[in-house]
């Protein structure tokens, strides 16, 4: 019986940690990356943060779609720090844009329309805006004691890594909603 299970899950139970020294990434016109690794070339490589809320530069999965358009994982980069400076910048740049998520730096006011939606007037790293959040008790929530995660009505995401570090007024405004 054990043999049977081993046979079946042989491919999936293997975690391939990539050797950062062998990684050579290049930007493609398709918007994806090309990876040369261990003598093989993979095109349209899509990097994914495995734990996007906990870490932005560790455990990055690199995958591509094969000719049958099936998902194939090449492997996982344990820590991007191991990459060369230029490779780090390329990958980080891609991830930052794929996971584009402005940080909230100040909260001016939160208006509740009493019908499930709130309007958060805030300063973010991409400028001042009014963030409309529908079903706010699902989409405006604390992922830990400090980390605020906001998913607005359009699907844009915002975060605040530590609400304790915001100014007093912002904290007071947030208090009722977090």
């Amino acid at each position: 019986m054990t043999d049977e299970i081993k046979e079946e899950v042989y491919e999936v139970d293997k975690l391939t940690l990539l050797d950062c020294k062998k990684i050579a990434l290049k930007q493609e016109k398709s918007g994806f990356l090309t990876l040369e690794y261990d003598g093989r070339t993979y095109s349209r490589v899509d990097p994914t943060r495995l734990i996007p809320f906990l870490s932005k530069t560790t455990y990055i999965s690199l995958s591509y779609e094969n000719e049958e358009k099936e998902f194939r994982e090449i492997g996982v980069i344990k820590d991007m720090k191991e990459l060369s400076g230029e490779q780090y910048k390329l990958l980080d740049n891609f991830l930052e844009y794929k996971y584009y998520m402005p940080e909230i730096t100040k909260v001016y006011s939160i208006k509740d329309n009493m019908r499930g939606a709130i309007f958060v007037k805030a300063d973010t790293t991409s400028g001042e805006k009014t963030i409309c959040v529908r079903d706010w008790y699902q989409n405006f929530r604390m992922l830990s004691e400090k980390y605020l995660y906001v998913n607005d009505a359009d699907g844009n995401k915002y975060f605040c890594s530590d609400i304790e570090k915001l100014d007093r007024k912002s904290r007071n405004v947030l208090e009722m909603f977090t």
Binding site: M1, D3, E4, E7, E8, Q27, K29, S30, G31, F32, R44, P52, K69, E70, N93, F94, E96, Y97, K98, Y99, Y100, M101, D112, N113, M114, R115, G116, A117, F119, T130, C132, R134, D135, Y137, D152, A153, D154, G155, N156, K157, M176, F177
Partner: protein, 728 residues
């Protein structure tokens, strides 16, 4: 939808689409504009033309949703993809529309510049309209409390009686201080003994009290009648709405949340109407009557009593906003608490099997504590400010006593008059204090009312047309260039076209996530397709009355849901009025009768919560009997035998064979052997219909189906090999 939002400088009139974007195709942040004319796509970055692409070089245009941004891509005939630009998600609907129109252009040569798609967001509040033409939030912006009060309409007879009775009993109380004054000024102060007059006064008091009591009784009866009826209506409406809404709207909410709204929030509104709806009218009236009386009696003293009132109202106004927020927090935590409870109790089997009781207890405790803390915060705020404002309010009373006393000493006023006056002042403060308390009640109620109306205002995205037809289904089903995506612009099914004939058994196969269940959901019209049309017996599915459609389609799923009740109840759920003999016949055909006979309570055996007292195979056979009794014209089997062992599967297969005889059947199964008796097979691949034909034909073709069959044979061999070795 406006597809020309931001034009580049020196733009020509030929530009048909022009949208701003935020990221270049290498991910760099730029202030860019994507625009297109009849021939080219132009990519501007920071005011300069960076790239130019010929539209006819591409065969497909798509938007690819990423996590925090999305990209617009063109795909060439040879499969090469080009990323034009990337943008934030608020632009997704517009870019999605442009990509759709560009693809239509390269496919048909017709360039559509004016799209009739609605604007994606409400211009005034910024919330997405999600397909509606009006913003539900801005349209019905009238106060939720006002909407609640409007619901009194059908019960106005009772309500008005209640109001009249309360006013009458209030009048009795207003008259009482006048009698006190007569007693003091005419009998106590002059020490007059006039038994005749005194008895007349006593009789008046007793009769007034009697009248007051009767009025109060009538008032209570009618108020409760109104409030309980409104509560019942609201509960009923929320429940009805939850049954009518489409699957996509419902899947956004948990069962616990819906239960909370049906029972908890509606009950709070009921309480509000009993306690406050009528009070509002009566208290305001008594405020005016008593205020008027005070001014008539002595306007100078009356002014003193109302000096602190503006200050108190100022405090109250400030308080309202704060209290509303605090009570929202209370609502949020109480909701979390009850959903958590619902979740854990529902999944109790999982909790027990992982031995994580202690963790769940701690988790529950956390929710409970948070809720309690939110309540404490709201209540503390309340009790810190209210006694203080009440104190300020009564300052007027001291002023009245001081100046009134001086007036008595100066013979400007009698003692009885002052007592009558001060009694009125106390009576005046009662409605004012009630008004102070109202923010708390209003805040609490408007949160609940908001939640209830939010459900009532929801629009189902699967709606019947104005004059839906009721048809007697024969069983022909036709997919005509059907596109569908659970999220707009992300299609799961692409261009599906096929014709299923009456009485045919069709198997749908393909990898998981390829859209098999989606096809079935579309036949059941749990969702509407985004493009194309599905026809049943030649009638477009959108024109068929939803109830008429579903009542003629039978479904057997992998996980069978049985309601808590007896086996009899569960089988007859399909047709309540079915005679018992027909139920037995259905159970016999479903291979269920034999095991039911062996149960001590026969057909009256309770199946327990979710049917957990029966085995998987037994539950499945009951579900088949239920479907049989329904006598459907179209049968859907979604992995109906997937979770059963081979022996049970054989019995179920027999039962299913009898069920599907002569009826159009559509079956999904992962195990391809299960579909051996299918007339034809639909093979889905990457959301498209890859192959359609008999088992033989498809095997001959050597395409996707052939690969699937071979892959499964391999797995079966692999599974059996070690066993054989072990046996040997």
């Amino acid at each position: 939808m406006d597809l020309k939002i931001k034009l580049p400088e020196n733009a020509t009139d030929d530009i048909v689409y022009s949208l701003p974007y935020k990221f270049a195709n290498d991910g760099e942040m730029v202030d860019g504009i994507f625009c297109a004319d009849k021939e080219y796509i132009y990519i501007y970055a920071d005011g300069k033309l960076e790239e130019q692409y010929k539209i006819s070089d591409f065969s497909e245009f798509t938007c690819r949703r990423q996590i925090g941004s999305s990209m617009a891509q063109g795909i060439k005939e040879n499969g090469d993809a080009v990323c034009f630009c990337a943008f934030t998600q608020d632009m997704f609907a517009r870019f999605g529309e442009v990509m759709k129109l560009l693809e239509h252009y390269v496919r048909t040569g017709e360039l559509i510049t004016e799209t009739d798609e609605d604007e994606p967001v409400c211009p005034s509040c910024g919330l997405p309209l999600e397909g509606g033409s009006e913003c539900v939030y801005c349209k019905g912006k009238g106060s939720t409390i006002l909407r609640l009060l409007k619901r009194i309409g059908p019960y106005k007879k009772y309500f008005i009686t209640a109001v009249i009775c309360t006013i009458a009993s209030e009048l009795v109380w207003v008259f009482m201080p006048y009698i006190d004054r007569i007693i003091i000024d005419d009998y106590v102060t002059p020490k007059l003994i006039d038994w005749g007059g005194f008895i007349a006064i006593v009789i008046t008091i007793v009769s007034l009290l009697l009248v007051g009591g009767v009025m109060e009784l009538l008032n209570m009866r009618n108020s409760f009648k109104t409030a309980l009826s409104i509560g019942r209506d609201l509960r009923q409406e929320v429940f009805e709405k939850s049954q009518q809404l489409s699957m996509s709207s419902l899947s956004k909410r948990t069962a616990g949340e819906l239960i909370n709204r049906v029972s908890g929030d509606a009950a709070k509104l009921e309480e509000f109407i009993t306690a406050n709806g009528k009070d509002a009218i009566v208290k305001l009236l008594s405020l005016m009557i008593i205020g008027g009386l005070l001014f008539v009696m002595n306007w100078r003293l009356a002014l003193m009593t109302i000096v602190p009132v503006p200050f108190v109202f100022l405090i109250v106004k400030k308080l309202f906003n704060v209290m509303a927020l605090r009570y929202t927090a209370v609502w949020k935590y109480s909701k979390n608490h009850s959903e958590n409870l619902h979740d854990i109790l529902n999944g109790i089997a999982v909790v027990k099997s992982f031995g994580s009781e202690a963790r769940e207890i701690a988790h529950y405790e956390g929710c409970s504590i948070k809720w309690a803390k939110a309540c404490v915060r709201a209540e503390i705020m309340w009790y810190l400010t209210i006694p203080f404002s009440e104190f300020i309010l009564t300052v007027g009373n001291f002023l009245v006593l001081y100046f009134g006393g001086s007036m008595i000493l100066g013979n400007e006023m009698s003692l009885g008059e002052l007592i009558q006056f001060t009694t009125y002042v106390a009576m005046l403060y009662e409605p004012i204090i009630w008004l102070i308390h109202i923010p708390r009640t209003l805040a609490d109620t408007s949160v609940s009312a908001g939640k209830v109306f939010e459900i009532l205002d929801m629009q189902s995205d699967v709606r019947d047309i104005e004059d839906p037809v009721e048809i007697d289904i024969k069983g022909d089903i036709e997919f005509d260039d059907v596109y569908f995506g659970y999220k707009a612009y992300v299609p799961v099914l692409k261009g599906i076209s096929c014709k299923i004939n009456k009485g045919e058994m069709i198997g749908i196969v393909g990898h998981s996530g390829v859209g098999k269940s989606t096809m079935i959901n579309l036949i059941l019209r749990l969702y509407d397709c985004t493009q194309g049309e599905i026809r049943i017996d030649g009638v477009p599915i959108k024109n068929i009355d939803q109830h008429s459609l579903r009542s003629q389609v039978g479904v057997v799923l992998q996980e069978t849901f049985l309601f808590d009740g007896s086996i009899l109840d569960n089988i007859s759920y399909a047709r309540q009025d079915a005679p018992f003999e027909e139920i037995i016949k259905a159970a016999k055909i479903a291979n269920a009768h034999d095991f039911i006979v062996n149960l001590p309570d026969g057909y009256n055996t309770r199946v327990g919560n979710k049917g957990y007292q029966l085995s998987g195979g037994e539950r499945q056979r009951i579900a088949i009997a239920r479907a049989l009794l329904h006598d459907p014209k179209i049968i859907i089997l979604d992995e109906a035998t997937a979770s059963l062992d081979t022996q049970t599967e054989k019995q179920i297969q027999e039962a299913l064979g009898r069920l599907t005889r002569g009826r159009t059947t559509i079956a999904i199964a992962h195990r391809l052997s299960t579909l051996s008796n299918a007339d034809r097979l639909i093979v889905l691949d990457k959301g498209k219909l890859a192959e359609f034909g008999t088992h033989k034909e498809l095997m001959k073709q050597g395409g996707v189906y052939y690969d699937l069959v071979m892959a499964q044979r391999e797995t079966t061999k692999m599974k059996n090999a070690p066993l054989k070795t072990a046996q040997a």
